[in-house]
């Protein structure tokens, strides 16, 4: 009966209750949609980062991570690449010769990471060829050619087929330089990456470093991120002399972005629900004030404090939960629509790409977010019912009845 009374009390002032119900609905929709937008951005960033930059796993000589010395190559690297490519959970794998060096032209110079690659393996692991915007991707038979990012190209005022000089420290700590001609220009969604990386043939870089046939890095792309930890463990236990790291360790800033996005949902929703809570508290306090005599009468008849609290809690719960499903449904519809067709943020392309984000955002939402919504809704209900309930419980029935 208390449930019935509470439910009917909610609809005593239909307009007032409807305002709260709509507020809850739009609040939840806004929170979920905002999070789905964030999820879309972050997931795309993670996906792009894994598929085109760091891959799922990377293997290095333990010393190489601290000091990019040419001598810290992976023992029997090419053979190790072949072994890993036989793992069932591995989609593709490639070996790289890596050096920190300098690119110089007549118009300037810049510090860069030089990636010596095997073009076909790199293509299947990082889809580097898909980033080509001008010229050609590295071929299998070429020599002293370089694949350079558009951002760096513009910075150094270069153009296709321009000559550049790459300078590195070789294995004996001597300075070694080589002239390379620009074969192709690439552009990824991550401008800072484009500015800091160039690609040359692995054998050319090995020659410069004096480490022919050796590789410094193995990038492993898995069929699924779900196999990340198990594959990493397998490699770590099977080959303890090399260092195997996941993308989370290699690019902690991306993992941090994921964590921040997750935490931001609590913050966004927390703020929205807090704002809603004040509206609900106000509505409930008005309801208590209007029903002072009635509540006094109920207490006089024998309704104890726990039941009065329960009734007010239920009224608040009904108010909040009437709006919640509609908010969730609305958010599902909008997330589905924009998840399919995307949200075009090309107006802010420069800003987005400078942080490595795509200008097309495809919102996505997961079950965890809905669980958080429900937790916050329950917390809001409890919080919102406390003040009105306290007001009601402080009523003296003999005085309340006379009001």
């Amino acid at each position: 009966m208390i449930i019935k009374v509470a439910w009917r009390n909610v609809w005593r002032h239909k307009t007032r209750s409807a305002v709260i119900v709509f507020s809850v609905m739009f609040g939840i929709w806004a929170g979920i949609f905002m999070q789905s937008f964030m999820n879309g951005m972050v997931e795309q960033r993670v996906r792009t980062s894994i598929q085109t930059e760091v891959s799922h796993l990377q293997i290095h000589n333990p010393g190489f991570s601290k000091d990019h010395d040419a001598n810290y190559f992976i023992p029997d690297g090419p053979a190790f690449v072949k072994t890993i490519s036989g793992f069932p959970q591995v989609q593709s794998v490639c070996g790289r010769v890596i050096a920190k060096g300098m690119i110089a032209t007549s118009s300037g110079s810049a510090g860069i990471k030089i990636n010596g690659i095997e073009p076909a393996a790199e293509r299947s692991t990082t889809q580097l060829d898909k980033s080509l915007i001008e010229g050609n991707y590295l071929s299998t038979e070429g020599k002293n050619e370089i694949f350079i990012g558009e951002k760096l190209l513009k910075k150094l005022k270069l153009k296709l087929k321009s000559k550049v000089v790459l300078t590195v420290m070789d294995k004996d700590n001597n300075i070694a330089s080589g002239a390379f001609r620009i074969r192709g220009i690439f552009r990824t969604q991550n401008t800072p990456y484009d500015e800091a990386n160039v690609f040359v043939y692995g054998k050319d870089l090995s020659e410069l470093l004096g480490t022919p046939g050796e590789i410094h890095e193995i990038a492993v792309l898995l069929k699924s991120n779900a196999a990340l930890d198990s594959t990493c463990q397998k490699l770590q236990s099977g080959w303890p002399s090399v260092k195997t790291e996941t993308w989370k360790e290699i690019a902690p800033e991306i993992d941090l972005t994921v964590s921040v996005a997750n935490q931001s949902f609590y913050i966004f929703m927390g703020i929205i629900m807090l704002a809603l809570a004040f509206g609900i508290v106000n509505t409930m306090l008005m309801a208590i004030l209007e029903r002072t005599r009635e509540i006094g009468m109920l207490m006089a008849l024998g309704m104890n404090k726990a039941k009065v609290f329960y009734m007010i809690f239920l009224e608040t719960l009904f108010l909040v939960f009437c709006g919640t499903p509609f908010g969730i449904i609305l958010s599902l519809i909008t997330t589905y629509y924009f998840g399919k067709y995307g949200i075009d943020m090309s107006g802010y392309k420069e800003v987005y790409s400078s942080f490595g984000y795509s200008e097309m955002i495809y919102p996505t939402i997961n079950l965890r977010d809905y669980r958080i919504i429900l937790e916050l809704v329950v917390a809001t209900t409890i919080f919102s019912s406390l003040f009105p309930a306290r007001r009601a419980l402080k009523l003296n029935p003999s005085e309340a009845i006379r009001k």
Partner: protein
């Protein structure tokens, strides 16, 4: 006869520390089962305050109240709530029905608080609706009932818990003469047939005329305690029979 209400030198003092106001000033009251008593007096004489203390809605500053031999003044608020629910029926001046419930549900509500089973609740509701003369109005909400009908539902609600007595604070104040008369008929019938004890606080001469005992309060003190017209008539009949 059983004593239902017993007040022992009850005081209610407001502003005790500054300028004390004696709302109730040393009242001794003794009401037996089956009495039909009116508590009368001018506004501010302490009728409602005394009624509230008897009903356990307010605590005396001094003295104590016994209901059915139990000292309710000693009880804490939870014990009092439980005691009120099981022993006291309230009829208020301004109906005070739950507007979102039907007449039947209003009557049933207190039995739910008492955890009476559904079958017994439904049976009792039907009995009470019949008893108050509106058996066909059970599914109607209070706003669709007349003032008199609403006050009858209030009486039925008060009776639903099978209380030891009913406290009625100005029960006819908002009723026209026909409705007031009908309500008093019902109350009198309950008093006569079921020996239900009634204690009214009232200004209404129609109630005073029907009371068997009239207690007058003035400045918080009992200034007279006499049989009412009905009481006198009953006494005369008894004397005549003797």
């Amino acid at each position: 006869m059983d004593t239902v209400i017993d007040t022992h030198n009850v005081f209610k003092i407001y502003n005790e520390k500054s300028i004390p106001v004696y709302a109730v000033n040393g009242v001794h009251l003794h009401i037996e089962r089956g009495e039909f008593t009116a508590l009368v007096g001018p506004s501010g004489s302490g009728k409602t305050t005394l009624l509230n203390m008897i009903g356990g809605l307010d605590k005396p500053t001094g003295g104590y109240v016994e209901i059915n031999g139990q000292n309710i003044t000693k009880m804490n608020s939870n014990e009092l709530i439980n005691f009120r629910m099981r022993n006291i029926g309230f009829v208020f001046q301004s109906y005070n029905l739950i507007p979102v419930l039907t007449a039947s549900e209003n009557i049933e509500f207190i039995m739910l608080l008492q955890k009476v089973n559904k079958k017994d609740r439904k049976k009792r509701v039907l009995e009470l609706l019949k008893e108050i003369g509106i058996p066909d109005k059970g599914n109607i909400r209070p706003s669709e009932l007349s003032g008199g009908q609403q006050q009858r539902v209030v009486v039925a609600r008060a009776l639903a818990s099978k209380p030891a007595f009913i406290l009625a604070d100005e029960p006819t104040a908002n009723l026209d003469s026909v409705s007031a008369s009908n309500l008093l008929d019902i109350m009198e019938k309950l008093n006569t047939e079921e020996k239900m004890t009634f204690l009214f606080s009232t200004h209404d001469q129609r109630v005073i005329d029907r009371a068997h005992r009239v207690i007058t309060l003035q400045d918080g003190k009992v200034t007279s305690d006499v049989p009412g017209k009905e009481g006198i008539a009953s006494d005369r009949i008894l004397e005549h029979k003797k």
